[in-house]
């Protein structure tokens, strides 16, 4: 029941916001909605960890993986919403935007969150497709939020490329129904049914279907070579949206793809899908790390870095075995840290008014707290030993070295290249000599708090997993 509740509340908040005139109310509504969403999804996650699967109605069913991603959406969504209140106030103060835009922003934000929840929790592939398309549509305007040519261009590319990708995905999705539709019934098939009847699927058809799905949703996940829209969109969107896009949306698309992988494996065994995943994962890792080596814009830096991490997760699922577990953890860590990094980079952006790495120097002197946050986040995300991401990476690679040594070694070295470039950029930004015109300013707690919380969570997770989360992950691993 909570599920219906939280989704309806989100949508309701959005709809009410359309008519509300008062800014405070809007902010209050959306923050409240996201808090409710957070609580609801925690309850659901607990339930799932107890009963294995949770489906309030035939239309909805949340499995372990879904629960995990729900938690991510809820947490990051909450952080982003809280953050955006203050962030937009700052921008209105610098009169970059007006009230109507703020309203639009929150409406679309809530819709976006709702769509993502739907995509994860629905039990029907087509509906999942519809909701993912809905995320595209709701974020398109958010990306063109600042209404500058560059933002416009990013949004246009985002719209066109994703639509194409998703249409291909649509075709692939429907190809899975070839057998199910021949069955009597109203043709409303959910994941379980598809998986159950996958064995009767024509193998060649299953292969084609998976290719379409992988290309289609891969576009949304941002796997090379379909990643091209991602850096543009992520770098041009408002910071909280970039955090959501990079931290959450990718994962949503990812798990939908994974569910199709499940069906395909049930039909023709895992090898086929694994090989495809490895190819695309490796491509993404290599391309992202190479491009990042000479990156001039820190938001794009982060964006490409998400591509790389998605690639690593994909590799993990491709390697299978231990890699799956590692990839799950990796996705979780990445979602939280990457959004934290984006949020803190937002503070930097507000301070320096530029997203160029060359312009940003000496954060540690101008914004001490943010600087520390940024640095810690950077250390975690690049897989520096004490933190979780190091172990996930190592586990992924150690899963790979058995079967695909060359792939692993290439991935390892591109990871090293990425670390070096990232290290160089991050240190020059954080330390280094601050430009004279920027003076030390005090930081707003509302802006520094959300990323702080996210990083704290990752800290906690990287040293001890709470039992219910552990149970969820293990179940998910067993399932996928």
């Amino acid at each position: 029941m909570e599920l219906i509740l939280l989704i309806t509340i989100l949508i309701a908040a959005a709809l009410i916001n359309i008519s509300v005139k008062n800014r405070i109310v809007i902010e209050f509504l959306s923050v409240g909605a996201s808090i409710v969403a957070f609580l609801g999804s925690t309850i659901i996650a607990l339930k799932v960890s107890d009963f294995g699967i949770y489906s309030p109605s035939v239309f909805f069913s949340v499995d372990s993986l879904g629960a995990i991603v729900m938690l991510i959406i809820a947490l990051v969504g909450l952080a982003a919403t809280v953050y955006s209140v203050q962030y937009l106030r700052r921008e209105t103060a610098q009169n970059i935007i007006g009230f109507t835009r703020v309203k639009q922003y929150f409406v679309l934000l809530d819709l976006f969150l709702a769509a993502m929840f739907l995509a994860v929790t629905t039990s029907n592939p087509i509906f999942a497709w519809i909701s993912i398309e809905a995320t595209t549509l709701s974020t398109a305007f958010l990306i063109s939020f600042y209404n500058k040519p560059a933002a416009m261009e990013a949004a246009w590319k985002y719209l066109i490329i994703n639509s194409i990708g998703l249409l291909l995905g649509f075709l692939g999705t429907l190809l899975y129904f070839t057998y199910v539709n021949s069955l009597p019934g109203n043709g409303f098939a959910d994941w379980q049914l598809l998986t159950a009847t996958a064995a009767y699927l024509n193998p060649a058809l299953a292969k084609i279907a998976f290719i379409f799905v992988l290309i289609g949703y891969g576009t949304k996940i941002g796997l090379a070579p379909m990643h091209t829209w991602l850096p543009d969109a992520h770098s041009k969107a408002p910071i909280p949206i970039s955090a959501l896009l990079s931290g959450v949306l990718l994962n949503v698309a990812f798990i939908v793809m994974l569910r199709f992988k499940l069906i395909t494996d049930a039909s023709i065994g895992p090898d086929f899908s694994r090989q495809l995943l490895i190819v695309f994962g490796l491509l993404s890792v290599v391309v992202a790390s190479l491009i990042n080596f000479t990156q001039k814009n820190y938001k794009r830096l982060l964006a490409y870095h998400s591509i790389e991490n998605m690639g690593i997760a994909t590799l993990g699922f491709g390697f299978g075995g231990l890699g799956v577990y590692a990839a799950m953890l990796h996705i979780i860590y990445h979602a939280l840290i990457k959004s934290a990094l984006f949020l803190s980079s937002g503070i930097i952006f507000l301070k320096y008014g530029s997203t160029r790495i060359a312009k940003v120097r000496g954060i540690i002197t101008t914004l001490p707290v943010t600087g520390v946050l940024f640095l810690i986040g950077f250390f975690i995300i690049t897989g520096t030993p004490p933190f979780g991401m190091f172990f996930t990476k190592i586990l992924v690679f150690s899963a790979g070295i058995k079967t695909y040594p060359t792939v692993t070694i290439v991935a390892l070295f591109s990871a090293a290249i990425l670390f070096i470039s990232f290290f160089h950029h991050a240190t020059t930004m954080v330390f280094g000599k601050k430009p004279p015109e920027i003076n030390r300013g005090k930081e707003n707690a509302w802006l520094t708090f959300p990323p702080l919380v996210l990083i704290a969570v990752v800290f906690y997770l990287s040293f001890s997993l709470p039992p219910f989360l552990y149970k969820l992950i293990t179940n998910a691993v067993l399932q996928y």
Binding site: K157, I161, I208, I215, V287, I291, T294, S398, L412, A416
Partner: protein
């Protein structure tokens, strides 16, 4: 920089995992036999590169001299004393313990690397005039010496001479210990000098011995110890290393013998050059007249610092005098390795602390030597002071300099001191000398107004190894950026092509 090293280490461990299915050393060691030889060699190379970067062996050393001036002195003391030793520890652990049995060429490779980094390390140290970079390069040199002991140990063991291997390991461990002591001492005293002078550039020091005598004393002791002069500890560990290598020369034949000969030669020359380098360091820092006004404000360092330095100095003397027992102890420790469980030791300490290696091949008694020196010094002083011409008049005068008045610019600089050696080894160091002469007038070229000589050493590792690598990656990255052409039609065609290729590969 070190991350590349880490990557290689990770790679080596992944290879372990691949064949033994575990990251745990015990397990790996238990079924090390599962690893085929070529893979083992690959592991060796990866591990050597990785750990070599950690331990800053030439040519993987460039991060160390860069890191030291940045770090505060006590941190550098730790870095040189302890941090780079972790690499050594891992090398010992892996090659002597986990990966046994190993082919002989591993040991010889380590030996060769050791001699290279010992020799080049001290040469680069000679070229430096920043005191901390100088000390950093000496750490590299000492790591090389440690590797010499280690490499000979590896070689001996794989050639079936376990007791010699034990000796080599003991030598390596002893030198590790000693280096930790005297290098920390040197860094601390250098640090207190820098605190007073606010610069690491030795060209601006000079005459500090009059302003901070005790620090000078400690630095002197450190220098004596590190340049392996008896009776301080540096000498005895180097002596042991020498003995190990001599044994190698005596027992082995053909190519391996030659590698040992080269190792001995490089070690010998390294000793000589280290001596020269520390004459330069101590001389230009503490002796002669001040080269900058800063010196006059220098004060003796704080008591706590002096105490800690004093302790270290005392330690380095004690470890020298009781080198025999210490070595025995270290051998006991190294016997904890499974391969050395029941190996007859070659080192023995007889009465009068005489400290024998390889029954009568070599022996020295540190206390006797020390006592002998002390007695001789006292005797000489006594005779010269009090027996011969007691009422000698001593007058203080200026330094004679052909009648000209002597300015600080006339005394030798650190660069000038090392210049001859640099020019002798110019094929290795690739020095570049630029003369900038400003004449009084353009007509006569005989009256230079000012002449500036810059003597700099080309960093061949940057220019031939790291720079090309970096440019290569940079190029690749620029190529990769062409993917992001900004043309949406191109982007869509990527998707189309990916789809087509995938479909065609499947169907």
């Amino acid at each position: 920089m070190t991350y590349i090293g880490t990557t290689f280490i990770v790679l080596a461990f992944l290879l372990f995992f691949k064949y033994t299915g575990s990251f745990d050393f015990a397990t790996v060691k238990f079924n090390v036999a599962l690893i085929p030889l070529p893979i083992k060699n690959a592991i060796f190379i990866f591990a050597l590169v990785g750990l070599g970067t950690k331990a800053s062996i030439i040519p993987f050393h460039i991060w160390l001299p860069a890191a030291h001036p940045a770090a505060p002195s006590h941190v550098s003391a730790l870095m040189s004393g302890v941090m780079i030793k972790t690499g050594i520890y891992m090398i010992i652990r892996l090659f002597l313990d986990v990966l046994q049995p190993i082919p002989a060429w591993w040991g010889l490779t380590v030996l060769a690397l050791g001699s290279i980094s010992a020799l080049l390390g001290v040469l680069y140290a000679l070229t430096e005039h920043d005191i901390k970079r100088l000390l950093a390069y000496h750490s590299i040199e000492n790591i090389g010496i440690i590797l010499l002991g280690l490499g000979s140990a590896l070689t001996f063991y794989s050639l079936g001479m376990p007791s010699l291997a034990l000796l080599g390991l003991a030598a390596a461990l002893f030198h590790t210990l000693n280096h930790a002591i005297f290098k920390s001492l040197l860094f601390l005293s250098a640090g207190s000098v820098i605190n007073e002078m606010h610069t690491g550039n030795m060209e601006e020091y000079g005459g500090l011995i009059k302003y901070m005598p005790q620090t000078a004393m400690f630095f002197l002791i450190g220098s004596i110890a590190i340049s392996a002069l008896p009776p301080f500890n540096g000498f005895f560990s180097e002596w042991l290393t020498f003995q190990t290598i001599f044994q190698g020369i005596a027992r082995l034949h053909s190519s391996s013998q030659w590698i040992f000969v080269v190792a001995a030669g490089s070690l010998a020359i390294t000793g000589g050059l280290a001596l020269a380098c520390f004459v330069k360091a101590f001389g230009t820092t503490f002796l002669a007249r001040p080269r900058s006004a800063e010196v006059a404000h220098a004060k003796e360092s704080a008591l706590s610092m002096r105490i800690s330095m004093g302790t270290l100095a005392l330690l380095s003397l004690l470890f020298g005098i009781f080198s025999g027992p210490v070595t025995i102890l270290l051998e006991k420790i190294s016997k904890s390795f499974t391969i050395f469980q029941n190996v007859t030791s070659l080192v023995s300490v007889s009465s009068r602390q005489s400290f024998n290696v390889g029954n009568g091949f070599a022996s020295v008694s540190a206390p006797v030597l020390f006592g002998f020196l002390v007695i001789a010094i006292f005797l000489t002083t006594f005779i010269v002071r009090y027996l011969v011409n007691k009422n000698q008049k001593v007058t203080i005068g200026g330094t004679w300099d052909c009648g000209t008045d002597l300015t600080p610019r006339m005394e030798i600089t650190a660069t000038g001191f090392a210049r001859s050696i640099i020019l002798i080894f110019k094929n290795v160091l690739k020095p570049s000398i630029q003369h900038e002469i400003e004449y009084r007038d353009d007509e006569s070229r005989y009256l230079p107004k000012s002449r500036e000589v810059t003597l700099s050493v080309g960093n061949i590792y940057h220019s031939y190894f790291y720079r090309p690598m970096q440019t290569m990656i940079h190029e690749l990255s620029l190529r990769a950026k062409n993917i992001q052409s900004g043309n949406i039609n191109a982007y869509i065609s990527y998707i189309f092509i990916a789809l087509a290729i995938a479909l065609f590969l499947v169907l």
